[in-house]
């Protein structure tokens, strides 16, 4: 099992504060969804966990070790980036081989290639693939390793309905295996369907953290979407006021 703790994390880009004193623990198995409008800090937080962004304050610990500048800990993390942009003149097989050269054999690659119907595209160059097919390649690269932590940034981007259903099944199987999964998405149905816990971020701060049921209960609504709308309308309400609203 893998533990991820974010402690007093702060980050600014110039004068803009992107993350402000964030404390989170992602160590519980299951799916945690990070929600929030654009520029709320969710991608910066994910990138801090992955070591792409260096925090100004606070630390990120993976398995108890501070990750600042390290790279070895990433062998336990699968990452699905938001934008599936790869070197245009490489073939799909070469791209898979590149990641395998770095991380070792991806034992699930063949199964996933068949699952997402990528076999006819294996010898095609990335440049001629459609956006949806590129995203399927992206999914294969992220899921071909049996890692304890998965970070999925807008995983459903550009996927057709069949691929979407298969991706959700894939995610559910990972959950059954007791993995820690962090997802960012704008699609509320996906949150409703998959999430165990929700973190709602706004202007670099955690506005809400809890289970889906806790969110619905706190804002007296039957759906996540309505609960979030109510939460935003309620603005800076105190916790007592939130209770009375519920």
């Amino acid at each position: 099992m893998l533990t991820v703790q974010v402690e007093s994390l702060g980050k600014s880009f110039g004068k803009k504060v992107v993350l402000e004193n964030i404390d989170l623990d992602f160590s519980m198995p299951g799916i945690t969804t990070i929600l929030g409008p654009n520029a709320s800090g969710k991608t910066t937080m994910i990138k801090s966990i992955l070591g792409m962004v260096f925090p100004d304050k606070g630390v990120v610990r993976v398995n108890g070790m501070v990750v600042n500048g390290q790279s070895a800990y990433k062998k336990d993390i699968s990452y699905l980036p938001q934008i599936a942009q790869f070197p245009e003149n490489l073939k799909v097989t070469e791209l898979i081989k590149l990641i395998e050269d770095i991380r070792g054999k991806g034992h699930r690659a063949d199964t996933l290639i068949d699952l997402f119907g990528l076999r006819p595209h294996l010898n095609e160059r990335i440049t001629i693939l459609s956006g949806g097919t590129k995203q399927k390649v992206n999914v294969v690269l992220a899921f071909m390793y049996d890692n304890p932590l998965l970070i999925l940034d807008e995983p459903t981007n550009g996927l057709d309905p069949v691929a979407l259903v298969r991706l959700k099944d894939l995610i559910r199987k990972e959950v059954e295996m007791g993995k820690v999964i962090i997802i960012t998405t704008h699609i509320m149905e996906l949150v409703e369907e998959l999430s165990d816990r929700i973190i709602y971020m706004l202007e670099g701060r955690v506005h809400f953290k809890g289970t889906v049921d806790e969110l619905k209960l706190a804002y007296g609504s039957t759906t996540v979407e309505k609960s979030i709308a109510r939460m935003l309308e309620a603005g800076e309400m105190t916790s007592d006021e939130k209770q009375s609203l519920a």
Partner: protein
């Protein structure tokens, strides 16, 4: 590093821009050899093309490649591999693919013309070496600039300005200073200012090798007089190595702490 280099090289060498670059040099070298017939004259003409074009193409390709592959760089950064290996691999992939297009484009016509068995072989080797140095130096500078500036237009503008300064403006300023202060002894000043520009340095290196004093200009003549041909060649080569190592160091340093 080798793994990332290998795939970056595959990607870039297959791009149509590498092919255009190769065909451009192939046509211009073949055309010049066919029209002139004198390998020595072709080397001098090509020198003038290479001194301007290799830094320009390397700068443009470097900055475009870095910005265009940002998402892929992020994917690589999420893998268990050190940052320095990622940037070094991408940098070497880019500069090697450009270098190979240049080497083949210029080299093939000369080889077919039998340069290896002529008296110009050493001059030919120095021409290629200088072209390679300029490619590797300016690719490193463009990567360094791209790592320092997230804003693409700012980064692109600065990289082009850097090339323009080194290729054109620097010589203009130098000339102006030499003319203005012609009454003073300027040998040391000329030497130092030449070493401070990799394009000037490359020009001197080729001209010292060719031993054509008429084309050396003031700085070349000073270089020749001060060091003599052989020592001059060694000093110019060492300075070029420094000019390559410095931006590579800067690029790796900038990459170590950069937020993506």
């Amino acid at each position: 590093m080798i793994r990332i280099f290998k795939y970056s090289f595959y990607d870039l060498f297959r791009s149509r821009w590498s092919l255009f670059y190769f065909i451009f040099y192939l046509l211009i070298t073949s055309g010049l050899l066919y029209l002139s017939g004198s390998e020595s004259k072709v080397i001098i003409t090509l020198m003038n093309v290479i001194l301007v074009l290799n830094p320009l193409i390397s700068t443009i390709f470097g900055i475009m490649y870095f910005y265009n592959s940002r998402e892929f760089t992020e994917l690589l950064l999420a893998q268990p591999v050190d940052r320095s290996k990622i940037f070094l691999g991408q940098y070497l992939g880019l500069s090697s693919s450009l270098a190979l297009s240049f080497l083949l484009g210029v080299g093939l016509p000369f080889l077919l013309g039998g340069v290896l068995f002529s008296s110009e072989v050493l001059n030919f080797v120095v021409l290629l070496t200088v072209g390679l140095f300029l490619t590797f130096i300016f690719c490193a500078f463009s990567f360094w600039i791209a790592l320092k500036f997230d804003h693409r237009i700012k980064g692109f503008g600065l990289a082009i300005l850097f090339w323009l300064f080194m290729a054109v403006i620097y010589d203009g300023i130098l000339l102006l200073l030499i003319v203005t202060f012609s009454d003073y002894p300027l040998e040391k000043f000329a030497l130092i200012t030449t070493v401070m520009n990799p394009i000037d340095l490359s020009r001197i290196l080729i001209l010292l090798q060719l031993d054509i004093s008429a084309l050396m200009g003031y700085t070349g003549a000073v270089f020749n007089k001060f060091f003599g041909s052989h020592l001059g060649l060694v000093v110019a080569s060492m300075s070029l190595i420094f000019w390559w190592a410095m931006p590579v160091w800067g690029m790796l340093r900038a990459g170590r702490k950069k937020d993506f």
